[in-house]
Point group: C2
Chain length 131, copies 2
């Protein structure tokens, strides 16, 4: 597939993929894709990543139900980063139960800076990942 | 610095940093930072990346004038991706003269899919990077 050949995967065969909520414009998460994950995403319109920790395809939301329906896929000028415009099912992308994985904000003070959570937990992770 | 120790740099000492326009919510680019680049960004409030091709600190906009003034810095749940909310000087982040580096959209058709530019060139790159 020609379009797939234009995608620059790194030396591990991976490319970073940013997921953005198509309604709010909020950045939800960043994860990695290999060729298979990208092809699966395009085919099914459901965001599918490559889990580096599990070394396996990761259909986002498979366990939690928090799937990401992909409306647009964009590639950057260097061809080495992807951007997915998605509809986030359940309004929760993060495994902590928050809307976005980017919830730690650098707060600077004269007493020393630190990362502070700036977004509420919308759903208890234990409820999300119930056994 | 404690806050810097919570940032998970990869085996090359780098972390991906996504720049988002704080007004429009548009994702402008993704680049990499090392510890020094991140510390410099926090100190100066101007986005500073690590150029992997040049293996040097890269003060965004140094040549083009298209600096990014950093208003907020966010870290994700795993601590391994950064998000910068920026004011994009000149309204152009991409070296091609476009607002965003993510301008190639996957267009699917029965004749074969491809990446098509979906955003205008706002300024001729030769004018931006005049010698």
């Amino acid at each position: 597939m020609t379009w797939l050949n234009k995608v620059q995967f790194n030396e591990d065969g991976l490319i970073p993929a940013i997921a953005q909520d198509r309604q709010s414009g909020k950045i939800l998460m960043m994860a990695w894709m290999n060729k298979q994950a990208l092809a699966h995403t395009v085919e099914t319109k459901k965001a599918t990543y490559w889990s580096r920790s599990r070394q396996a395809l990761w259909l986002k939301g498979e366990q939690s139900g928090h799937e990401q329906i992909v409306h647009r896929i964009l590639l950057d000028c260097d061809g080495d980063t992807l951007l997915l415009e998605v509809e986030q099912k359940g309004g929760i992308a993060c495994h902590t139960g928050r809307e976005s994985c980017f919830y730690l904000e650098l707060q600077e003070s004269s007493h020393g800076s630190n990362w502070s959570p700036n977004a509420p937990i919308l759903k208890d992770p234990e409820t999300i990942y119930k056994k």
